[in-house]
Each structure stands twice: as structure tokens, then as C-alpha cells.
């Protein structure tokens, strides 16, 4: 993201990850994705006019679910291209929580009759209260939290049926494996596993995806992407893609995770988040944890 330059040789500098702050490492409370669901039909991501739906914003934080307050709004998305999306009219719905709570921010709404694209926007605060929206133009610069911090500004563009019919992709319960072994969701990894030694070595985190989630749109399959995050160790990359031309069926992706070199005697819980997207607003989330134990135990 440096200044524009005109050299093909710049390509030679590609591939170097962000040295400032690895995106895939969760060091603070932050949003990692969002999902829209039609009420009663959670697989549908795009509501039709008059249908009830809900958008939930997924958060991640070191150590697990964070406490947050928030304010979210839903409006008709404006037609501006290229910049931060905004509203063409005052918000239709507001959802606000002024007390800190671990429940994920969410906004329920009834899809309007005359709109093809909606915008969810707002602020998630780790402390204090989200500022009110006095006028639509307050978004996004003037939005923040009462403790003086800008907070986590979030936006999510949402298509509507029938212009766009889209199904949320799904990460099934048995989709993940750790070093080749099934990796299921558990609440006490240092009690029931899985565990890995803190040797600084690498583990392989694999996800088996569903071929059915590669919907065909205008003759082309959707591009699936998986973003991975952890609160310890180092993931070799943030994202993996399944391209439309990828022949593998069912598709799969994997991440290399470099384990920390030390762990407390009783072990340390390391958390992982995997966000699956279909490139058209559909998404799913899987969370996993493992126990990092001292080498040799």
C-alpha cells in the first residue's frame, strides 16, 4: 500500500507479509466477519422483500469471546463506488446494546420492499458506549465509543432477493482436522484435548469444504475463501482460496501453523477462528481450540 509506482519489477517484492502487525494473529478484540440469515432459513443469505432476517457480527479476542457494547444500523446502500459504502437514506433499523456482554452484536430486520442492496454499519466497543447516529453523514468518521476511542467500525453490504439469490456456505462439524486427526469443537481442550507440544514446530490445520457451496452464478462457480486467525503461534497465511476452476471435489484448504516455543506447565488454550466466504456475502464461522503443552510432556 505504498505510493503508486510503475514497475513490473515491483512484483519481485511481493509475497512479503505485513511486518507491522500480522492480520492472522488476534491481539485485541476485533470483528472477523458477519453473516446474514433469513429467519427460519439460516442457509439463505439474501432476504426477499418482507422477509425477516438477521445479521450477526462475529468477534474474536485473545482468550475467547469478548465483552462488547455496540450500535448497528441498517440502511439502503448508496450508489457511490470505490469509497467506504454509505446510506442513500436515513437508517431503517437500529440495534444497540449499551452494556458490555459476550453475546455477538446482531441486528434483526424486515427486508424493505424497494431496495436491492442494504448496508449494515455501526461501531463495536470494548469499553464505553457506541456514539449515537445524529445524522447519516456521521458515518463513518464521526462514529466512535464514549471512552474516546474510535471503536471498531464495521460495515456489511447485503444483497436482496430476488435480484441476488445466495446461500450461506457451511463449515460442517467434521470439516476440520489438526495434523490429520479430526478436530471437533470442545470447551476444555486442556482437559479433553487435543494438545500439541510447544516446540516451535509446524502443525497442519485442514478444512474440508462442501462442493455444494460452490454455487454456479452465470455459468461460473463461486470463489470460496477461508480466513484463519489464532491468538497464539503464527499462521503461515491469512487466507486460502478455492478458485472457480479448481477441479478438486470436494474442495479443501489447509494452513500451516507454527506453534509457540513455550507453554505454562498446565498448558495453554490456543483459540482458532475460521471464516468461510463465498464472495457474494455468504459466510460461515468455525471456532476451535487446542491445548499447547510444554515440550516433552
Amino acid at each position: 500500500m505504498t505510493r503508486r509506482s510503475g514497475a513490473l519489477l515491483m512484483l519481485a517484492t511481493l509475497g512479503c507479509e505485513d511486518p507491522l502487525h500480522p492480520e492472522q494473529t488476534i491481539e485485541k478484540t476485533r470483528a472477523i466477519g458477519a453473516r446474514s440469515e433469513v429467519t427460519g432459513q439460516p442457509e439463505r443469505a439474501t432476504p426477499a422483500p418482507g422477509e425477516s432476517a438477521e445479521v450477526v457480527v462475529w468477534l474474536a479476542a485473545p482468550g475467547g469471546a469478548p465483552e462488547t457494547s455496540y450500535a448497528l444500523w441498517l440502511c439502503e446502500r448508496d450508489a457511490v463506488l470505490g469509497d467506504v459504502p454509505g446510506c442513500s437514506a436515513p437508517p431503517l433499523v437500529e440495534a444497540r446494546r449499551d452494556v458490555l456482554d459476550v453475546a455477538a452484536p446482531r441486528l434483526a430486520f424486515v427486508a424493505p420492499s424497494e431496495s436491492s442492496r442494504l448496508l449494515l454499519f455501526g461501531v463495536v466497543c470494548g469499553a464505553g458506549v457506541a456514539s449515537p447516529l445524529l445524522q447519516t453523514s456521521d458515518w463513518p468518521e464521526a462514529m466512535g465509543c464514549s471512552d474516546g476511542h474510535a471503536g471498531g467500525r464495521v460495515s456489511f453490504e447485503l444483497d436482496m432477493a430476488p435480484e441476488v439469490d445466495n446461500l450461506n456456505p457451511q463449515l460442517t462439524a467434521d470439516a476440520l482436522s489438526l495434523d490429520g486427526a479430526p478436530w471437533s469443537e470442545g470447551s476444555d481442550p486442556c482437559g479433553t484435548g487435543p494438545s500439541v507440544p510447544a516446540t516451535g514446530g509446524k502443525s497442519r490445520l485442514a478444512l474440508a469444504l462442501r462442493d455444494a457451496d460452490r454455487e454456479v452464478v452465470d455459468g461460473v462457480r463461486e470463489t470460496l475463501s477461508v480466513a484463519a486467525f489464532s491468538d497464539a503461534g503464527e499462521l503461515g497465511s491469512t487466507r486460502q482460496f478455492v478458485e472457480p476452476t479448481e477441479p478438486t471435489s470436494p474442495p479443501a484448504v489447509s494452513f500451516a501453523w507454527t506453534r509457540p516455543k513455550s507453554a505454562p506447565a498446565g498448558g495453554r488454550v490456543v483459540r482458532f477462528w475460521f471464516v468461510l466466504r463465498d464472495g457474494r456475502g455468504g459466510a460461515d464461522l468455525a471456532e476451535r481450540a487446542l491445548c499447547l503443552v510444554p515440550a516433552g510432556t
Binding site: R3, R4, L11, A12
Partner: protein, 671 residues
């Protein structure tokens, strides 16, 4: 990394979309009796308010340029410091795409291999490089900034000569000599050496190398003297740059950049010219040119472009002295471009002053277009040279240009005056209108606006030159520009996508000092003070992307004896404006943060400081000459921050340092 994707597209856009022919002012306008012959140099009355020329002996000995003649123009007043990776000149506050670069009358789609490594024509073939920083004459049109014209020399007639040059960067060879009593030929070629060691430095966990970066270029010049007053010349030159990589993983800052990435830029130019001159100062110049240009780009699965074009150029100019005081120059100028291309990627935006160009591709609106485009641009001009007295010369001119298919017409009157105060001091002034057609993609319907009008610019300048002795000359000049009808992105980014709602203003002054205190010493100092601003869609005035308030360049070249020579160049330049990032918004649909920008160009990079040093030693071995050289760019390894790199959420940033110390060691043999 949208910047990369877009900049690569920019590389596909011809740097200058027109070709012209020079008329030799030394030969077509002199009031004095011409003395023809190889040694004859007759200073003619100028046709432009300011023309600065670097001659052959100055072109290849400038430290920090690796002997590159086109980089040597950065020594001159009014020439800004280009960004690393984008070496196209910035003339008096004009964007590089507003200035015309000609090589022997032909435009080229790129001036430097891989953006800035070395120019695409062997500097050993240049006779001179002329720089018109603004207020250029009517023979140049359809461009609103300035003009750089590199003139190839006549191949040697005095016997067979050759040159071989091998360095870390590239290897080159040149052969020239007479092939008949009145005909001589020069052939040159060059190929990069980078691919030999590229793999060793490539981070193999980041990408695999499908095709290491390679460039090559070639030139051939044939010149036949039909008579002492009439010559024919054929020039063929071309170039290719290519690199292909396979990224090991998606780029963290822009996951659209994944998989295969690379590109190819290739062109082949042919120019046939005829030049005639008479003893009475009259003469003609005719050029027929054809250019084939090929561009390919791939930056991940969703960003790709392929363009192929033919460009045909015709220009003729006739100079007729009406009397001892009056000279009439008439010229016609036509260019036709036939473009066939396709592009898919983020929607193009204005090339300058738009921080959204830096937003990751994954967050930009996308577009896919495949189209053919034929552009025809006939032009004509009339120029009157009037020597009102021995001290005063006035050159009024008028240029007309038509643009198709947009069916636009521009009428550009220009006036240049020169007043000699005495034998060594002269005042010069100029004022004129300049017009430039929009970039070709800006008028394509799906991504642009076919109804765009030409951009306009009013230039004015006033200067004084004084030659204190044969060894010392000083020039001081003030200049100003006012731009209107600048093409900018539409307010909401929607159709018509581009509009003529931008304007601009430039004001500045230049000081140039050239000294030759001894026969073995050459020194130059250039200082430019300027302010270049733009305004988009009636918004607030802002600084031009490459506005450099202070620009000081000092150069020294010294022959030391025993075949040794050394040179140094020092540049101290104000940092370029930058746009602060005030915060960000997480786009949960894509999974990336969007930056929230502050006022465009409201911050400034740190001062740029660079010292370059060059040392060479030559041995005369009979008829052959062997030279070893070391060119050390950024000898003090100054950091020279240029812009900032941001963390994924824009909460942290650090300066992006410029090129580190860069040595180039080489050996050159000449016969």
C-alpha cells in the same frame, strides 16, 4: 496492493499517445548563413521560450544514472524527481502523463525498463536530449505539460566502431560504420542480466519464478546523405520487458493478488524520415512512423489485461523564409491508433490525486471490458518567426488539433519572444495554450466518458540568461500554468465515470548555473522552487501528487588524469505530498479494512537526500579503449522515506524506504 494492479495497467497505457517529428531549429530558422558540414553548429533563434539541451558528452557521465541519458535530464532546472519505480519526467509541476517523450520523433509506451531501471534505447546512440519544460512550440501538440526529445545521432562515417558493455544490470553491444560512401549504419542491442541471479535473491517461500525478469531492446539506424542538403534516415527500435511469478500465498494486504502474477510490455517502432535544408534557411522534414505495441498483465485470477495496438504517424513540416526578417513554418501532424484490448479488474480512476487508488483491489468496484478503439488525431500548425530587430525576435504560432471519435477540436495560439540585452544576456518570454486528449481508456464507454473534452493548459514564462564567460552561464526563469478541463473521476464513481471537472495551477522559479572552471571539470547546479496544485470537482485546492517545493541538484564531473575520472551528483528535494489515514472501517463482507483518508496531499514525506558517486578508469589499447566503472547510487544509504506502509487495520504504519545503496560495476570496451 491495488496500487500495484493499477500501476501495472498504467504501464499498459502509452506514456504518451502521440508521435511527432522534430524540426531542427539549428537548420531551419537561422538568419545567418549556414555552413554545412559535420562540424557546423549554427545557433538559431529559438522557437520555444525555453529549451535546455544536454549534449552527447554530458549524457552518459552523470553519476547515479548508470550512464543513462534520459536520467541525465534530472540535472536540469524544472525537472522534478520521479518516484522510485516510475522514472517518467515531471516537468514544471506537470504529471508525467501530461508530458511528451519522443525518441527520434517517435513515442514509446514505456521509457524505462521495469519502470526505472534503464531507458529503452541505448544512450550511446543519442546525440542530444532537448527538454522543453513548458511553453513549447507549435510543432508539439496534443500534450499539456512539457516535452523531452531525445535525438539519435548519425552513425559513424569515419570507419568501423564497436562497443561492448557488461555490468551487473545488463549487457550491451553496438556496431556502427559506413556501408557506402554516403551511407552509414548503427546497430545496437542490450539484454538484462538480472535473471542470472534473480533466483538467488527471490524469497522462495513467497513465490515461485516462472519467468525471471528479463528485458531486452534493440536499435538500428541507417542514414543516407542524398546530397549535402538532403538526407534520409530509417530507424527501427524496440523493447520487451517480461516477468512471471507464481505467488505462494495470497498477499495479506490484498488477497486479490494471488496465484500467477506478471506481465509483458513490448513495442517495435519503425520511422522513415527525410530532412532537407537549403542555404536560404528553408527546408523540409517528413516522417512516417509505425509502432506495434503489445501489453499483457495478470495480477491474480481476477485482474488481467491484454492490449494490442498499431500506431501510425505522419508529419510534415516546411520552412520558408519570406524575407530576411520573416520565416514561415507550416506543418501537418496526424496520428492514428488502432487498439484492441480487454481488461478485467478494478474500475479505473483518475491517475493523480486519488488515494482510493491505494485501496486493495478486493474492495474496489470491478469491471470487465473488451473493446476495439480507433482514434484519429489530425493536426496542423503555422508559425511565424519575425526578427523585429537584431535584438528582438517574436514568434507567434497557432496550432489546431482535431480528435476523433470524440469529434473535439482544440485551437491553441502561442507566442514566444526573445530580447537580447547585449551579446551575453537575453530575456525570453512565452505564453500559450496547450491541449491534450484524455487517456484512451477514459473515453471508452463502459469505463469512461466518450464525451470528454481535451484538457487545457495556459503556460506563461519569463526568464533571463547570462553567459558571464565561455566557462560560466547562469539562467533564471519564472513560470506559471493554469489548467482547466482536467479529467477527474466523477463525484460518485458512477457513469459517466470521468468528467472534465478538474483544474490546476502551478507557479515557480528556476535557477541554473553551468560552469567549466577547467578543461577537465564540469559542474552544474539547478534549483527549482515551485508550487503545483490541483482542484477536483470544485473541491478544495490540494497539492499535486509530485509537488516538490524545493528541488536542488548539483553535479560535478572531473577528469583526474591517467585515464581516471570521477563524478558525483547530489539531490536534495522536498518530500512528495502524502495523504494521511485517519482510521478504518472493517468490511465484513470481504474481510478487509477500508482506510479513511484525510485531506488529499495534506502531509509530506521527509526531505529526500541522495548522493551518487561514479568512478571510472580507462585504458587505451591501440585503437581500442577499455573502461572499468563503478556507479554507486545512494552512496550514503539514505533512507529517503517515500510514503507509508500500513498494518492490516491501518492502526500502525511505518515509512517505506527508498532505494538502498545500489552499486553497479561494469566493464566497457570500445573500438
Amino acid at each position: 496492493m491495488r496500487a500495484l494492479g493499477w500501476s501495472m495497467l498504467i504501464l499498459m497505457i502509452p506514456v504518451a499517445v502521440r508521435a511527432e517529428v522534430d524540426a531542427d531549429p539549428e537548420l531551419v530558422e537561422s538568419d545567418d548563413e549556414l555552413v554545412y558540414g559535420e562540424e557546423a553548429v549554427v545557433e538559431a533563434p529559438p522557437r520555444e521560450a525555453k529549451k535546455r539541451t544536454l549534449r552527447r558528452e554530458e549524457l552518459t557521465e552523470v553519476a547515479g544514472t548508470r550512464g543513462d541519458a534520459m536520467r541525465a535530464i534530472e540535472l536540469l532546472p524544472g525537472v522534478g524527481r520521479p518516484s522510485d519505480g516510475d522514472g517518467t519526467p515531471i516537468l514544471r509541476g506537470a504529471a508525467s502523463f501530461h508530458s511528451l517523450v519522443l525518441i527520434d520523433g517517435m513515442t514509446v509506451p514505456l521509457l524505462y525498463h521495469f519502470g526505472s531501471l534503464t531507458s529503452v534505447v541505448s544512450s550511446r546512440l543519442f546525440e542530444s536530449v532537448d527538454v522543453y519544460p513548458s511553453n513549447f512550440g507549435a510543432r508539439y501538440g496534443r500534450m499539456s505539460g512539457g516535452v523531452v526529445e531525445a535525438n539519435l545521432r548519425r552513425p559513424a562515417m569515419d570507419g568501423l566502431h564497436g562497443m561492448v558493455d557488461v555490468s551487473l544490470i545488463d549487457s550491451a553491444a553496438l556496431v556502427e560504420g559506413p556501408v557506402a560512401r554516403d551511407t552509414s549504419v548503427a546497430v545496437a542491442a542490450r539484454r538484462s542480466n538480472i535473471d542470472v541471479y534473480f533466483d538467488a535473491f527471490a524469497p522462495d517461500d513467497a513465490y515461485g519464478v516462472i519467468a525471471a525478469p528479463v528485458y531486452w531492446d534493440y536499435q538500428a539506424v541507417v542514414e543516407r546523405e542524398l546530397s549535402r542538403t538532403h538526407s534520409l534516415r530509417a530507424v527501427v527500435f524496440g523493447s520487451r520487458d517480461r516477468i512471471e511469478l507464481r505467488l505462494a500465498r495470497p498477499l495479506a494486504s490484498d488477497p486479490e493478488l494471488r496465484g500467477d502474477a506478471g506481465g509483458r510490455i513490448e513495442f517495435h517502432n519503425l520511422a522513415l524520415s527525410s530532412r532537407g535544408r537549403r542555404a536560404d534557411g528553408g527546408g523540409h522534414r517528413l516522417l512516417l512512423g509505425a509502432s506495434r505495441q503489445l501489453f499483457e498483465q495478470k495480477a491474480g485470477p481476477n485482474t488481467a489485461g491484454e492490449f494490442k495496438s498499431w500506431e501510425l504517424t505522419l508529419r510534415g513540416e516546411v520552412t520558408e523564409p519570406a524575407s530576411r526578417e520573416l520565416t514561415l513554418v507550416t506543418g501537418v501532424d496526424a496520428k492514428a491508433t488502432f487498439l484492441d484490448g480487454s481488461y478485467r479488474g478494478t474500475r479505473p480512476r483518475q491517475l493523480e490525486g486519488d488515494p482510493l487508488l491505494e485501496v486493495p483491489n478486493a474492495l474496489g468496484p470491478r469491471v470487465e471490458v473488451a473493446d476495439t478503439l480507433t482514434q484519429v488525431a489530425p493536426g496542423a500548425y503555422l508559425e511565424l518567426g519575425w526578427s523585429a530587430s537584431r535584438a528582438v525576435r517574436i514568434v507567434p504560432a497557432l496550432r489546431l488539433d482535431a480528435y476523433f471519435p470524440s469529434r473535439q477540436l482544440s485551437v491553441d495560439p502561442r507566442l514566444t519572444t526573445r530580447f537580447a540585452l547585449d551579446d551575453s544576456t537575453a530575456l525570453g518570454a512565452g505564453v500559450g495554450l496547450y491541449s491534450q486528449a484524455p487517456q484512451y481508456y477514459e473515453i471508452i464507454d463502459v469505463i469512461g466518458n466518450p464525451k470528454l473534452e481535451p484538457e487545457r493548459s495556459l503556460h506563461a514564462s519569463l526568464g533571463v540568461e547570462r553567459r558571464f564567460s565561455d566557462d560560466l552561464s547562469v539562467e533564471l526563469e519564472g513560470f506559471a500554468k493554469r489548467m482547466t478541463h482536467r479529467v477527474v473521476t466523477s463525484a460518485d464513481g458512477n457513469a459517466p465515470y470521468f468528467v472534465n471537472d478538474g483544474d490546476g495551477r502551478v507557479i515557480g522559479a528556476e535557477l541554473g548555473i553551468t560552469a567549466r572552471p577547467t578543461a577537465d571539470t564540469r559542474a552544474q547546479l539547478a534549483y527549482t522552487l515551485s508550487r503545483s496544485e490541483r482542484r477536483d470537482r470544485n473541491g478544495p485546492w490540494r497539492r499535486f501528487d509530485s509537488d516538490q517545493t524545493h528541488n536542488v541538484v548539483a553535479a560535478l564531473h572531473q577528469r583526474l588524469g591517467a585515464g581516471f575520472s570521477a563524478g558525483a551528483r547530489l539531490r536534495v528535494v522536498s518530500g512528495n505530498p502524502s495523504t494521511p489515514v485517519l482510521g478504518s472501517v472493517y468490511d465484513a463482507r470481504v474481510g478487509l479494512y477500508r482506510p479513511l483518508y484525510g485531506a488529499v496531499g495534506s502531509e509530506e514525506d521527509p526531505l529526500f537526500f541522495q548522493l551518487d558517486v561514479m568512478v571510472q578508469k580507462a585504458w587505451q589499447l591501440g585503437a581500442a579503449r577499455l573502461t572499468a566503472y563503478l556507479d554507486l547510487q545512494n552512496a550514503t544509504n539514505a533512507e529517503n522515506a517515500q510514503g507509508r506502509a500500513y498494518s492490516y487495520d491501518y492502526s500502525r504504519s511505518e515509512p517505506v524506504r527508498g532505494l538502498p545503496i545500489l552499486p553497479n560495476l561494469g566493464l566497457r570496451g570500445e573500438l
